[in-house]
């Protein structure tokens, strides 16, 4: 008669490939074991150890050694397994923690950040966009990824192999993440909560030099994550951009100051320049204002009009000058009728100081393709003058500045959209 079932110390076994001594911490639960020395995959679910796949790999490098014990969330854990996994853009490590009285937990490390994972027994409900779990709503983080298992070392309670694939989708609420993994029809949910790296390091006595570090933010891991992996903040980003543009425009209207306008029709003579035609007077009501001068010609063709503006300060006699050109050409070639040019010209004068100004213009009309120095040409008489309506306006908005702002604001979301489009 022998004493019934005296518990023995955790089993050890010898790797059938390399002969290395391997501890078996979770005897009775462990199904597969990846040899920590040679990487061979063993079936240890029966008393007789079976070699599933033979490898002669270098020893896997993980931050935490197998067999290491540590205390996290008020319980003692043994690190019994470690795997490396990757998807199309990232790779990370997962450690299997075990306590015979508590069960299994996960420790996930991605770029120096750690999460503690617990398998869920009460499953979240919802669709692919959001789920509800224990009365709280979790929203999807990024699109579904396929995670592939790489290096496998240590004990696992299921049949695991290098190359295993699982579809992963994660939902977040604050810092808590619910991760859904599907392998064929089987779905498992894991709750992941963040753990401070320092806590993990002291719990498992990790050598500081082996501790994974946070990478410096690079375009591919920070702002521009590959398609599908980025958090879905494109909507909020567009909203922020739009709000910034609209707010800026409102303040710009306020800054632009009082509007004053003067307008008259001048006659631009052909073949010569008429100088110093007075258009009118405007008042610049702030320390600095924009003055926009708009020239509009009417029905003319194959002509251009040079306009040299002088905005003269009545008090000092000093001038701010600018140039405008109204033009229109048309004709017929092998491609048919064509026309080009603009009978309207906007000239923006910036940094105009406070004061009352007279606007003078030097105007001269020219014909295309050549000026006719003398003699009448068809449809043209020397007496002809081209009427141009000139309007000066103080207090206008610099639309170009605003549109530049708009373009810059939409470059970042644009790049993200382009990136998604290119990768989808």
């Amino acid at each position: 008669m022998s004493a019934p079932h005296a518990p023995k110390a955790p089993r050890t076994l010898a790797c059938p490939n390399c002969g290395g001594t391997l501890a078996l911490e979770a005897a009775g639960l462990t199904v597969n074991l990846g040899c920590r020395y040679c990487g061979s995959l063993l079936d240890v679910s029966r008393p007789e150890v079976e070699l599933i796949r033979k490898y002669n790999r270098a020893r896997a490098r993980f931050a935490i050694d197998l067999g290491q014990r540590g205390r996290l969330f008020g319980e003692d854990w043994a690190v019994i397994g470690a795997i490396k996994r990757k998807d199309q853009s990232d790779n990370w490590s997962e450690y299997l923690l075990y306590n015979p009285y508590v069960g299994y937990r996960w420790l996930v490390e991605y770029q120096g950040e750690w999460q503690f994972g617990t398998l869920l027994l009460d499953l979240p409900e919802g669709d692919d966009r959001a789920v509800t779990w224990r009365g709280e709503r979790y929203t999807r983080q990024w699109s579904e990824q396929e995670a592939v298992t790489g290096t496998v070392t240590g004990e696992f309670y299921w049949r695991i192999a290098n190359g295993d694939r699982a579809r992963c989708l994660s939902f977040a609420r604050g810092e808590t993440v619910l991760s859904r993994e599907s392998v064929e029809d089987e779905v498992t949910w894991t709750q992941l909560v963040p753990v401070e790296a320092d806590e993990v390091r002291s719990a498992f006595a990790i050598d500081g030099r082996r501790m994974p570090r946070k990478p410096r933010p690079t375009p591919s891991s920070g702002f521009l994550r590959p398609a599908g992996m980025e958090a879905d903040d494109l909507g909020p980003m567009l909203l922020v951009g739009l709000a910034a543009a609209i707010l800026t425009l409102l303040v710009m209207v306020f800054i632009a100051g009082p509007v004053d306008r003067a307008s008259s029709v001048i006659a631009a003579p052909y073949g010569m320049t008429r100088e110093g035609i007075k258009v009118g007077s405007i008042t610049v009501g702030r320390d600095h204002q924009f003055v926009r001068i708009t020239a509009r010609g009417r029905e003319f063709d194959n002509r251009w009009v040079d306009l040299d503006y002088s905005l003269v300060d009545r008090a000092s006699g000093q001038a701010v000058t600018g140039y405008g050109l109204v033009e229109h050409y048309s004709g017929r070639d092998s491609d048919g009728n064509w026309s080009e040019g603009n009978r309207r010209a906007d000239t923006l004068l910036g940094g105009v100081a406070r004061g009352t100004y007279d606007l003078y213009v030097d105007a001269g009309a020219h014909a295309w393709p050549v000026d006719l120095a003398v003699g009448p040409a068809p449809g043209w008489s020397l007496a002809e003058q081209i009427p141009v309506t000139i309007t000066a306006e103080a207090g206008g908005l610099p639309w170009g500045n605003w549109i530049t702002l708009l373009i810059f604001l939409f470059i970042p979301p644009g790049i993200i959209v382009w990136h998604r489009f290119r990768n989808s």
């Binding site: 303040v251 924009f290 702002l405």
Partner: protein, 48 residues
Amino acid sequence: MTARLVLYTIFAALLAGLTLLSSFYAWSPYSDEDHHPHGAVYVRPMHK
């Protein structure tokens, strides 16, 4: 709020600030004025 949304918000605020500053001083890269220095006084041409 993601880190990059925070970054983007800072970026948008900076851009808006720059735009407003240029608006305040009535400066624009698209304006084509020529400010004549002191002494260069506009002389009104004589009309015949």
